[in-house]
Amino acid sequence: MCRLFALTSKEPVSPMEAIKALDVMKEGHDGSGVGIMLRDLGGPFEEMKDAPILSGIFTEEGIRRLDLFMMDQGFMTKYKVSIKVPKTNTSGIPRRGLYLIRAYEYPEHWDGLDKGEVERRLMMTRLKIREMGEEKRDMIVFSFWPDTIMLKELGDPMDVGHYLGLDRKDLKARVIMAQGRQNTNYAIDLYACHPFFIKGFTTMTNGENTAFIPIKDFLSSRDYPGYTGYQSDSEVFAHILHYAMEGLGLGLDAYKHVMTPLQDKHLEKHPDASFLKHLKQSCRQLIIDGPNCVIGTLPDNTLFMAQDRKKLRPGVVGGRPGMFAFSSEICGLDAVIPDRDKSRDIQPMHLDTAIVSPDRQEVKICRQTEPLALPL
């Protein structure tokens, strides 16, 4: 079972904070991979909130091909963070090319496009770079989105943190997600490392996804180019989130109703019973069966945690106004926010979605039995 940690803070903090939390939860991951997602960035990126940032790993040849491709598209480099890795090898971390974090100016001919079209084009650009990279095995791309940085690498999280120099001053964020991976069924592939990202929606999960194949089949057949990949059975959680919110126009409170619908006898008593019955039936192929704890962020930097229907995975939320953290274990929370009121820690149960909105003032528990904020 992997270990998850996410935080949302009023002041930008270093990703090493999250790495620190993963380190104290070391029993739960085996150094087979770590993934980090940073949003609501501080430091130099603060000044360029709208510029799309490309995160990935490139060989020298890959960088050349990337530059040619991006120039062809009309993207101009606006700012970049160069990660210099030590010359000596660190055990468990493979040597790769360049870890790239680069912000771009939009192509001029994109001016005047509406937001939806810009977002679609950003996603298509990421998919194209990924496709090119898979062809020649010279590029790996994690995200290409404004105000978002993603890093993934194999190895022990603390080692990777030092190796990549994540404690540097210009790398700070207000929303951080990190996962220490426990390799299970699938060969180690960086695309299989959490968190997973699609158009501003990010999730990371622990546990296997026993209903993976029917869910993957359903998403893959939606005729939506972003629903691809699936090197990990957990990638579908990000796509279900995106599908529910952007595809169906539902709120976050409906996410759990899609994945873990109420059983009929409870559903009938729900104030939105009729709507939920239709949702349950039409999204039947998206029902998960656990065991999963899902932590995710939305494009507006809301952070949430949702559990599977049987609550088979641990997860705790705690903090204080201005800073909240979501963790697989309480010790992870203690490592990062020791000065919180621990009596107010919350362990979301099988019906709960724990939500911290971008104002970071409180943890809101949304129970599945409560009325929905329906878009109808």
């Binding site: 026993t210 059983q263 009929d264 999204c283 192929q285 069966d289 229907r309 049987k310």
Partner: protein
């Protein structure tokens, strides 16, 4: 027969018959119960002559010979009276003195079952024990990386949907605009398939209906039963129990006059309407109820004269293209119930099934597709149809499901599989395998007859006289002397036993796979088979 008498080509000896009666003289009390119970009069009281020789160790003149007669059981060798292996004699015998034994050789009998140019007709099954479904194993067991669930204690929702499920976006849109949303029923994934009132005896039908009502009303299991093509008793049509019933219409339209006239009086809508275009046991052939079984009651319900054979045409006669056959008929049936009742076709598994499915995907009123494989049963058919016509169910279901996945409609048109599920007794494993290959549920017929009513048919050509109305268990007979043997209450009890035990077994299969909150439709990564070609064909794992 004397050695010098003429023999005809079809004169048979006991050794030519498929079943031979083993009778033990020393145990028989000549009570006559076996000869009375035999449905085909294969045995009779026989008088046998025996010569006793007493040889002397002294003189030749002292040798003696004497004759005696004794009574016993004689097996007939005429074709209509050939033993069918039902073993009712063994069941009736108080002294275990008699039983039929299968002929281990090749019974020549088969070559002569075409007297007067009429090929063999029978009821029952394909008579083949082979089952690909039995070979499929469930290999994706949750072990430590994710916990196996507890079949006894976790919550389960083993339900399926019968009805056209709209794609989520369209469903949301129609909710917003108060548009028409097709009816969808939440049902139990094990359905009692179409066996008509007529093919089955009144006591069997009553027992099934009572069992289904109990499962629904007392145990909360939404089990559904199809009527088959033979109408529906008027009282059931006007009762609240109709909601558990799938009304079947087939090419003979038997009983539909009564059903249409009952619509204004219906307290509940039926669960669904099944339009039968074909059945797996005899694909491309219509239903058949032979004259033996068309008594006054059956004739009245079906709206036909008494004592005539009722062969349904192979296709719906007024319709000549798939557009009419499927689109118009589905639409008409939907309209008859105000678009509140799901309507779906049932077809024989065939290499052309995909064409039907593709047509259905474009028909907004099509609710599902039921596909019946070659191992389906029947009350009456030509042997050649049962033995040689048809398509195996597993690959047909898989092809159809994967086709739906390809076009993104796997949740919109549920596919139901029938034919040979549990043919060797492994009903839950067979059903789960089909569900994971892509079926939304399975239909069973023969299994219910065997488990709930003690049908003695097996895959070894045993009994198979459902067509003649002489069912020794009273399951498929219209003769009160026979069907009184079957107590409807006990049938109902066994139906409940069957479904409750199936439910436990299904949970015992899905729980270790880590599934409980939804039926694992299309969860093909759980399946493996030790046949490479089959694994490739079904797109599942090859395991040895």
């Amino acid at each position: 027969m004397s050695a010098n008498r003429t023999i005809s080509p079809s004169s048979l000896s006991l050794k030519d018959l498929p079943w031979q009666i083993d009778w033990k003289k020393d145990r028989c009390t000549l009570c006559g119960q076996c000869t009375a119970v035999c449905p085909v009069h294969a045995i009779e009281l026989g008088v046998f002559r025996k010569r006793n020789l007493v040889t002397s160790i002294h003189r030749v003149e002292d040798n003696q010979t004497s004759f005696e007669t004794f009574y016993g059981i004689r097996q007939k060798t005429t074709l209509p009276e050939a033993c069918i292996g039902c073993a009712m004699c063994a069941m009736a015998c108080p002294n275990d003195a008699i039983e039929p034994k299968p002929n281990p050789g090749t019974p020549r009998f088969k070559f002569h079952l075409n007297q007067d140019g009429e090929p063999r007709k029978r009821g029952g099954r394909r008579n083949s024990t082979e089952s690909l479904l039995d070979q499929i194993k469930f290999i994706r067991i949750s072990m430590l990386t994710d916990p196996a669930l507890d079949a006894g204690r976790h919550e389960f929702e083993m339900r399926s949907l019968l009805g056209r499920v709209l794609p989520p976006e369209e469903n949301m849109r129609r909710l917003r605009t108060n548009g028409w949303i097709p009816p969808v029923r939440e049902i139990y994934p094990l359905i009692i398939g179409g066996m008509s009132f007529g093919a089955l005896s009144p006591t069997m039908w009553e027992g099934l209906q009572m069992g289904v009502a109990y499962l629904n009303e007392e145990l909360g299991m939404p089990v559904r039963i199809s009527t088959g093509e033979g109408g529906c008793p008027p009282r059931l049509l006007r009762s609240r129990f109709l909601k558990y019933v799938i009304l079947q219409i087939a090419s003979g339209y038997f009983g539909w006059d009564e059903i249409i006239h009952a619509i204004p009086h219906m307290k509940e809508d039926p669960c669904a309407i099944e339009i039968k275009y074909g059945q797996g046991a005899k694909p491309g052939d219509g239903g058949l109820l032979m004259w033996h079984k068309v008594n006054k009651l059956i004739a009245a319900i079906r709206g036909v004269p008494q004592g005539i054979s009722l062969p349904s045409p192979p296709t719906h006669q007024t319709q000549y293209s798939i557009e009419e056959s499927v689109a118009k008929m589905i639409q008409s049936m939907s309209m008859a119930w105000g678009f509140r009742v799901p309507v779906y076709p049932k077809i024989s598994a065939s290499s052309t099934s995909l064409a039907v499915l593709n047509n259905l995907t474009r028909n907004d009123f099509a609710s599902a597709l039921a596909i019946d494989g070659e191992d389906g049963g029947t009350g009456a058919a030509y042997s050649v149809s049962m033995d040689h016509m048809g398509h195996p169910i597993a690959s047909c279901i898989r092809d159809n499901y994967l086709n739906l996945v390809k076009i993104g409609k796997q949740n919109e048109i549920p596919i139901f599989a029938g034919g040979g599920i549990g043919k060797n007794g492994n009903i839950a494993a067979n059903a789960a395998a089909l569900i994971m290959l892509g079926a939304s549920g399975v239909q069973i017929g023969k299994y219910v007859m065997q488990a709930a009513a003690g049908c003695i048919g097996t895959e070894k050509d045993r009994c198979n006289v459902c067509n003649l109305g002489i069912c020794p268990k009273g399951i498929t007979s219209q003769d009160p002397r026979l069907y009184r043997r079957l107590d409807p209450e006990t049938v109902a009890q066994r139906v409940v036993d069957l479904f409750v035990s199936f439910d436990t077994e299904l949970k015992k299969i899905v729980a270790p796979l880590g599934r409980s909150t939804s039926l694992p439709i299309g969860m093909s990564d759980a399946l493996g088979i030790n046949d490479y070609a089959a694994a490739e064909r079904l797109n599942i794992k090859y395991v040895v």
